[in-house]
Symmetry: C2
Subunit: 354 residues, 2 copies
């Protein structure tokens, strides 16, 4: 704590991201990255961007990229905002739509960045417990004083909330913004985007870091009513005119256009997820029903922290959250089938020798 | 104005960046970009980054890049913070070091993003008039209630403040942070960085968008006492874990290492600046003594707005600020010698036919 820090710097409680390692021997199943490379068209676009035009500022309005995203979601460009990863979009959304002195609501078990934003911007919040089966009860989010935010599917549970339930939450908060963080939506049954036109108070947030395999490039976006998008743009333009660089704009545009490639790798991951789930169940794990690119599981006898540590000894990184009631679970990113075979083998060995 | 907006979104007064155009016939002398391509090593690093590892998150701590910057400024890595362009670094600095209810000071004529940050974060500010010759009077910045920020050289005047003067400002604000925005420092006599070790309250901010010709890549950084750097890191880690993508980290590292290339193109620009200054003076302009990659000039008889509009008709973009007392000046980025010949020819024609 330094005397030079502002009250904001003093009260901040920074987020701790999953470990990033540069050792190719380590199997990284800890930050929900895609095991496949991005679309070859995205890699081509990256290479083509490596020229002298990089001396020029990028487009502050990212029009071409927003146009492509808009087409995909059947909305107009003025319903799309692009940011430096969905984390930056979330930060701008907390700034633009949530108010100090008005309590917002989000699940007690959820993306752990939400309380970080709320603390930074001095927004009071209520962490609503999940139900016993780790699902969200829509009624718990009716008439929220300051607004609502949750991921769908939720993280780290991986559980999907039906769109009808989201509609009731939106209807029961007509004067407040309801943010649906759809980071993992491409691995789930369906996005809320087709129903978005009926709600001027719902903001969807998506990312290119998961299904598009571009975590290293930092692109996320929001879709919603133009007045919400305008609110986000006001925040960006008061913070940093250009948050997406030229390479990222070009590669993201190519990746989003290549829907068949995204579908192909997503299908593989969903298939591997089924296989991993079955293997874990055979090893006496209880596995939450995931609609994401990770699974959350608890073992009948061995505690989660021990599993995390033992797997680390096998050069396999997974994630363990030290937070009740999820602290008995481990979260495992779905890699390729080969990677998951290595994971299951290591896990089998750990359980046998326990 | 939307009912869904927070008080922050309502009070925001967004920055308006210089026009970005994609037409190669237009000569862009309006946003102080470098007319030369970046270091070939940086372009190579960009190309090499276009591979499957882009599926992985970048380093949240950007250690390798910070190490290279630290070496160049003869400080430790924990004295360096890296952000998404110097604009993002500035935003985090306003958040970390300036306080609502404590009035900060900056020049009345300066980078027009400062009042935007202050308004966004509800930080009161005093705009201190420049002296008649457009220079900063150090005494005006003694005992500032909330802190001090100004660019050196200042923008859009281009005028450099001697380092002894900065030292007195730092000494007369021992309990507040003094931020020196050195965006254009490589075109000026010397950085404050060599004197930084004597001051725990001075934060220097630099960028790769100007002398390193990488505006399209979004990398800026701060150098200062580790407790100040720690304050910035707390803000970043409460906002967006990874603000610099893999390509930008790699290219920035290569660009910073290639000091001889930076010196070579900087020397050319400084040389062209002298030539342009002389040409403008011969055309009856009064030119402020610039130590940057732009010049700020006023004509004896033709007003600045007319010159801006006439040059636009010649497909040449410059910048005009509609703000007293700089509204009679135009700001012109220094391009290549060939580009500036085209500019001077067009200007000569405009003045003759006026």
């Amino acid at each position: 704590m330094s005397n030079f820090w502002s009250s904001m710097a003093k009260r901040a409680q920074p987020y701790v991201p999953g470990e990033q390692v540069n050792d190719s021997h380590i199997l990284k199943l800890n930050t929900n990255e895609n095991p496949y490379p991005p679309s070859p068209n995205a890699l081509q676009a990256m290479k083509r961007s490596a020229d002298a035009t990089i001396r020029l500022y990028p487009s502050p309005t990212t029009d071409d990229l927003r146009e492509v995203i808009a087409e995909q979601h059947d909305v107009n460009k003025d319903s799309v905002f692009v940011g430096n990863g969905s984390d930056e979009v979330l930060a701008f959304a907390f700034m633009a739509f949530f108010e100090p002195l008005e309590r917002i609501r989000f699940p007690k078990i959820t993306y752990s960045f939400y309380p970080v934003y709320a603390t930074l911007f001095d927004i009071p919040y209520e962490e609503v417990p999940l139900q016993e089966d780790f699902t969200i009860n829509p009624e718990d989010y009716f008439d929220a004083e300051g607004g609502v935010i949750f991921p769908n599917p939720n993280a780290p549970t991986g559980i999907f909330l039906e769109l009808d339930a989201i509609e009731t939450i939106a209807q029961k908060n007509p004067n407040k913004v309801v943010i649906i963080d759809e980071a993992y939506i491409d691995f789930a049954p369906e996005s809320f985007s087709a129903r978005l036109k009926n709600y001027n108070n719902v903001l969807l947030i998506q990312t290119l870091s998961k299904s598009r395999a571009l975590a290293g490039l930092r692109v996320g976006y929001a879709i919603g009513h133009p007045s919400l998008i305008n609110g986000l743009t006001r925040m960006k333009d008061s913070f940093n005119s250009y948050t997406i660089d030229r390479v990222a704009i070009n590669a993201a545009t190519a990746a989003i256009k290549d829907t068949s490639y995204t579908q192909e790798i997503t299908k593989k991951i969903v298939h591997t997820r089924s296989w991993v789930t079955k293997q874990l169940q055979e090893l006496s794990f209880d596995v939450l029903p995931s609609q994401t690119n990770f699974v959350c599981a608890t073992h009948a006898t061995i505690d989660a922290k021990t599993l995390y540590e033992q797997l680390k000894k096998h050069s396999i990184l997974i994630r363990h959250f030290n937070q009740d009631p999820i602290d008995s679970y481990i979260r495992i990113t779905i890699g390729t089938r080969e990677e998951m075979s290595r994971f299951i083998s290591a896990l089998t060995e750990i359980i046998r020798s326990a």
